[in-house]
């Protein structure tokens, strides 16, 4: 943390994400759908692992309730 090209950019992001996750949860959108991780360009394997894990998480959660609601509204 703080080790950001723009000095404190990642700290600011982290704060917003912490807030947003809880707001999403309260609004009925699973907070697992939002994820924020820092992976440097030298950590290819971490990145791949993270992406695969996130894809798995999303797959397990199923389509977003927003998508379903949107489809209903459009119908």
């Amino acid at each position: 943390m703080g080790d950001c090209h723009y000095l404190y950019g990642n700290v600011a992001t982290e704060k917003r994400v912490r807030f947003l996750k809880k707001l999403l949860a309260f609004s009925g959108i699973e907070e697992e759908r939002l994820r924020c991780k820092w992976v440097s360009s030298a950590e290819a394997s971490e990145f791949v692992e993270e992406m695969q894990d996130f894809t798995e998480t999303l797959r397990a959660l199923g389509p977003s309730p927003l998508k379903q609601a949107g489809a209903q509204r459009a119908a």
């Binding site: 807030f19 707001l23 609004s27």
Partner: protein
Amino acid sequence: MTQNVKKKVKELLESGKIKGFLGLCQKNGHIGPHLFCDPDDLESMVLGDEERPGDSRYPLNKLLIHIARSYPDETFGVLVRGCDERGLKTLYTWNQLNPDKVIPVGVACPQELADACECLRPYPEEFVEGERAEERSSASVTKISGLDVKDRFTSWMKEFARCIKCYGCRDICPMCFCNECSLEAEELIHTGELPPEIPIFHLVRAVHMAGRCIDCGLCNEVCPADIPLRTLYKKVADIIDEEFNYRPGYSEGKSPLNILGSAAEE
């Protein structure tokens, strides 16, 4: 019930400490905001209770911004309840009012109002009228939090679906002082839709309330569709408190989302 406020305002006006006092008065059968400038003209002053306590509250601190923008060198008095005072404090941190140019005159809310508001602090730091009522925690938030995530979603979707996009929640909000509003930004929210893009419209506003909403509840009161906005923003305030130990109007200083780095928080 207004004797002490009137006395205090009379003193302030006569001593020349304030140019005017922004309070409430009864005129033409309506209770509404009024700027009292003459110490002999305080007869019509009321505290905003028509049928029930506090049922005629107005965003006086927001109106004060309008006046102060044109008269930055004058000092004004303003009627404050607990929430209004929190509003003032927060507006100071946002540079929208100058604390040296505002003299608040406080009233404490009766228990009935504190209960209805689920208010964490239904009184200002100092008050000349009323008695300190007991604080209330937010049962409405607890109720929604207790729902299953799917039910929470369905319930909010139902609420948001009633929105008629009147922008009343924003227009009445004492913490909404922007000239240009994200709720009207085409890039963020599709235009020409009613109800406005669900749930983006209301969640964008909720995000903007983070570190800012002082829980006055006026948004909820002006909503023609009775969307429980206050509950949503109460939760927003709870989250910021849980995560960063900051509650606008209660805590000192700026919102953690407006402070660089993490040193200043926690």
